[in-house]
Assembly symmetry: C2
């Protein structure tokens, strides 16, 4: 069975309707508005960061779709939208907003399903092509690369910031190859499929839950790990002020070596 | 007129048939072979660097297409294929080979037409989607961002190497945003369209002519510049041992400021 067929028949309907809504809204946004408008700051999001117009357009479409199917949504801009369901979607409407708004075609819709407080499945959809990656906690169609050492690893990273320049440099110097794609959720999908060996926020504490929630399922079920550089549990929480430095790695050994470099 | 229609009707036929051949060969390669096979080293290229199996497959298809239409080809693996034409294509069959071989969908076919020793037009095609960017020396459908200062610029860079770590860091610290996409020719197309403000090899002298030849036309005709960090002329030459540190920028001012940072 093709993976796209697996996703269509096995994924939670809430993931499918919100992914469809996100793709359609993204296309309307990039076809209908200038780059200046797309990147204009529309509001301060529930997570305390500025929200671009493109984020608002796509998030509104996702929330409407989730409401139509009766599930709660936790999203970066509007926060916690509780309709009394036992199912919650943790959603990043447009991960890689800066890419999307500029015209760099690397941005994703990403969502994890939470049932009984646990992540049960996740879907990431590349908005430019509508390619999708999906897994549940018990089943993944993907396999990580199995890479166990940083010196052999192709590592994707968040761009360096002043506050974590030294940690960023330690990882970049040691890795066999470094990329900065500016889209955490596509990077995590690439770790799940084995296209890259790891993806890290090298200690800048930039990651919010929606940046790494899908990775917990996609990469965890594909043989890899998702750690936090400072060992904080990556768990469902409606408090959007929490931050992590996610380490998404093909294997436990690779994840731990990256953590050691970042916290050295 | 849609840009795709402009390209179909105005581009040199040699660009169109080779781009078509490259896309078809790339798809056969990624569908038909494992990642291990795609990245296996097949030969030492004419440019002195190791050539992956995926490069050979795509280049063979391009050379056959170019021969069918009777133009010369200068390509990284086979070198100079002279059929006695007044037209030469300077070709990168798979720019971003490491991406292509690993399964990161960022790699391009890129070619510049040389007539009477001058670059006259160029086409870059994203192999994953077949999206194409084309311009001639006298006409471009694109416009760069017009950005004039590094502090406001989103700058794409080649990954840092030990030999240019300090120059790389000076640019990364000063720029407003940094990306490493590991595909020079898509980065140059993004500079032409204004999606990113600049793309640089920060002094590592990694660029061969085929990595930046298309940029000379695409970005030059769109309002930007292509410089070399050490001021070497970027010109047609069948000597594939030559290297450059290309600076592809939205404006002359931005290009010169980047050159100053790289050579400081």
């Amino acid at each position: 069975m093709m993976i796209s067929e697996t996703i269509r028949t096995q994924a939670h309907p809430a993931l499918l309707v919100t992914a469809d809504a996100a793709t359609a809204a993204y296309r309307r946004a990039v076809d209908g508005y200038s780059r200046e408008k797309l990147r204009s700051i529309e509001m301060e999001g529930a997570d305390g960061t500025p929200t671009m117009f493109v984020d608002v357009l796509v998030e509104d479409a996702i929330i409407a779709a989730a409401r139509s199917i009766g599930v709660n949504v936790l999203s970066e801009e509007r926060g916690w939208v509780d309709v009394g369901s036992s199912v919650t979607l943790v959603v990043d409407p447009v991960d890689g907003s800066a890419n999307a708004a500029a015209g760099v075609p690397l941005s994703c819709f990403s969502a994890a399903v939470v049932e009984d407080g646990e992540f049960s499945e996740a879907l990431t959809s590349w908005l430019h092509t509508d390619e999708r990656w999906w897994a549940s906690r018990g089943y993944s169609p993907y396999r990580t690369s199995g890479c166990t050492g940083v010196a052999e690893a192709a590592v994707s990273m968040l761009r360096p910031h002043r506050r974590n320049w030294d940690a960023w440099t330690r990882v970049a110097e040691r890795a066999s190859r470094v990329r900065i794609l500016s889209c955490s959720t596509i990077d995590a999908a690439f770790v799940a499929t084995g296209a890259v060996d790891a993806f890290v926020d090298a200690g800048s504490d930039t990651h919010r839950l929606m940046d790494i929630a899908a990775a917990v399922v996609l990469v965890g079920a594909s043989g890899g790990v998702v750690l936090d550089a400072r060992d904080r549990p990556i768990e469902f929480d409606i408090d959007l002020t929490r931050r992590w430095s996610g380490i998404v790695a093909a294997t436990e050994e690779l994840g731990e070596e990256l953590r050691g470099l970042i916290t050295a």
